[in-house]
Amino acid sequence: MSAAATLSVRNLSIMFGGVHAVEDVSFDVNPGEIFAIIGPNGAGKSTIFNLISRLYEPSNGSIHYGEHDLLKLPAHKIVKTGIARTFQNIELFEQATVLQNLLVGRHSHSSGNPLTDFAFLPGVKRSELEHRRKVEDIIDLLEIAQYRDERISDLSYGARKNVELARALCAEPSLLLLDEPASGLNNEETDDVGFWLEDIKHDLGVTLVMVEHDMNLVGSIADRVMAINDGRLITIGTPEEVRENAEVQQAYLGVSP
């Protein structure tokens, strides 16, 4: 596991067709904390994630993770710095099995080469078994053993959510970006997710940044919360402070100040 580091975002901005989706947003995420991002739909939360994972190019600002200047890296090198993520609309490999999905999660730790893989040299087999062992640990942690050989397209929504979280963990990240980990889940499933996230934080020492609408979940596990609206930062504070903030309440009620 890569060493925990601070994620610092400074003056981050991006425009889509003349509209600022994210405008001048700055924040730090400290090693080992659970940091929640809240805001109404279209506030720019997922866009911030897409900027950090380099799927979008910012028009301004900087993103550093520890000593890494993320804006100098292409999207596929981000996971090497220790950052893994999930997607709001679940991006699994639909026609592959759960096991195959999780093994792709190990990609950043494998040195594949078509020729050695084609020949399945002894070294390849050894590292395959090693990956498999790591994957099985995550399968146990998230209790998805019963789906191991199922195709993703045969899984229920809740199971997919777990598998996507598991796949991100297979990359052995030090920082995990979770885009609405509890959306679409029932109360019981949401509670499970809450427990797992705390386990991931405490046992695996992973820093968590999550976009979440469920304020109960946010209130019970987040150390700090950042509220944004229309791409701009409103406030950062403890869950209570943010809940009490007048501007946050207005943003959610849709009343202009």
Binding site: S53, L55, P74, A75, H76, K77, I78, V79, K80, A84, R85, F87, E91, L92, F93, E94, Q95, A96, L99, Q100, L103, V104, G105, R106, H107, S108, S110, G112, N113, P114, D117, F118, A119, F120, V124, K125, E128, L129, R132, R133, E136, S153, D154, L155, S156, Y157, R167, A171, S183, G184, L185
Partner: protein, 358 residues
């Protein structure tokens, strides 16, 4: 359905987990090895040709079925393989050296094509690969000094380590040997990171990227591996054709390869083999059709491509998982008899996203 108790991760890494599967595959392998004992030369040649097409099918399957990159230009790699090899051995290069050089050249050209195609999707990729095919075909026709142009190129007799292989069974075993190599290699590919990164790019480029897969590099690799394997098929094909001419490797040949993998079942190695069987039977069906159809229709030159196109469409609409998918259903039927229900293979849509949103 059989329940498998796996006690070691090693069990999962083996591609033939079920005993029944091992027996079935073992039987087919035995039959293929014994074929020269009971097949006459004509049928042995047909079977050898089928094996060659199975190799080409696996080549295209890796690119289209497993990486999701369509190519209507794959006959070009058959051509590159056939011509390069024939030209090399006609200059006295030994067979074994020529195979290595030819497969490498084909793979490198595939990588270059993959590099320029890595930013293209769907329709544009189809057109680009088709353009590549036309380019190669034209080039082979024009470069008369080396390729013999449209007059054709005589393929030198097959010789291995200096020993002439004149008998059909000798050539057949050569084909069979390479089928084993390619099937084994392709199966290996998909139980290792390289193959899984191909599947990842096929299903979601976005999350492939976020897990550290370089999508461009995967496409280059997949084009390269696919072209190398198809080039190998070209090498073997040359010895079956004994006379090469650019027209043999045209759009129709590409369409034939595409037909093979669509009909066989996209996304499985076995599908490519089923497709090859079908393709070998197709000429018989076509000559039969020519006889029974009224001459005005039956003698039309376009009957073959029309039929190819028609079969592709029918399969995409009615049996998108191809013969392989049908085979899985039949097997499942027998394994679970008498409990099979038609709905066993209907995709379980156990949720609708909008329903779950609160």
């Amino acid at each position: 359905m059989q329940v498998l108790f796996k006690t070691r991760y090693e069990d999962d890494i083996h591609f033939l987990a079920k005993t029944g599967e091992k027996i079935r595959v073992g039987l087919v392998v035995l039959l293929l090895i014994a074929a020269p004992l009971f097949l006459q030369n004509y049928y042995l040649a047909e079977l050898g040709l089928m094996l060659v097409y199975a190799i080409a099918g696996i080549g295209l399957m890796i690119l289209t079925g497993h990486t999701g990159q369509v190519s209507f230009g794959h006959a070009a790699f058959l051509a590159i393989g056939a011509y390069c090899h024939s030209i090399l051995i006609s200059h006295g290069v030994p067979f074994s050296v020529s195979v290595v050089l030819t497969v490498t050249l084909s793979g490198v050209i595939g990588m270059l094509l993959g590099r320029s195609a890595s930013k293209m999707h769907g329709f544009y990729l189809a057109i680009a690969t088709l353009a590549f095919l036309i380019l190669v075909e034209t080039f082979l026709g024009e470069w008369e000094a080396v390729t013999g142009g449209h007059a054709g190129f005589k393929v030198p007799a097959l010789k291995l380590f200096g020993i002439p292989l004149k008998a059909m069974w000798q050539q057949y075993y050569l084909d069979l040997f390479f089928v084993f190599v390619v099937v084994l290699g392709a199966a290996n590919l998909f139980r290792t990171p390289t193959g899984r990164s191909f599947l990842a790019v096929r299903d979601s480029e976005l999350s492939a990227r976020s897990l550290g897969v370089s999508v461009e590099w995967v496409k280059i690799q997949s084009f390269g591996v696919s072209a190398a394997i198809t080039g190998l098929a070209g090498v073997l094909l040359a010895h079956h054709l004994s006379y090469l001419s650019p027209e043999v490797f045209g759009v129709l040949e590409s369409l034939k390869l595409m037909l093979m993998i669509v009909v066989g079942g996209l996304g499985s190695i076995l599908g490519a083999i089923f497709g090859a069987i079908l393709i070998s039977l197709l000429p018989i069906a076509i000559s039969f059709l020519r006889d029974v159809l009224p001459p005005a229709v039956g003698q039309q030159a376009g009957l073959e491509p029309l039929l190819f196109g028609l079969i592709i469409v029918v399969f995409i609409v009615f049996e998108p998982q191809g013969i392989y998918g049908r085979w899985m259903k039949i097997r499942f039927f027998f394994e679970t008899f008498p409990y099979y229900r038609k709905s066993s293979f209907v995709r379980q849509k156990s949720y609708l996203k909008t329903e779950r949103m609160r």
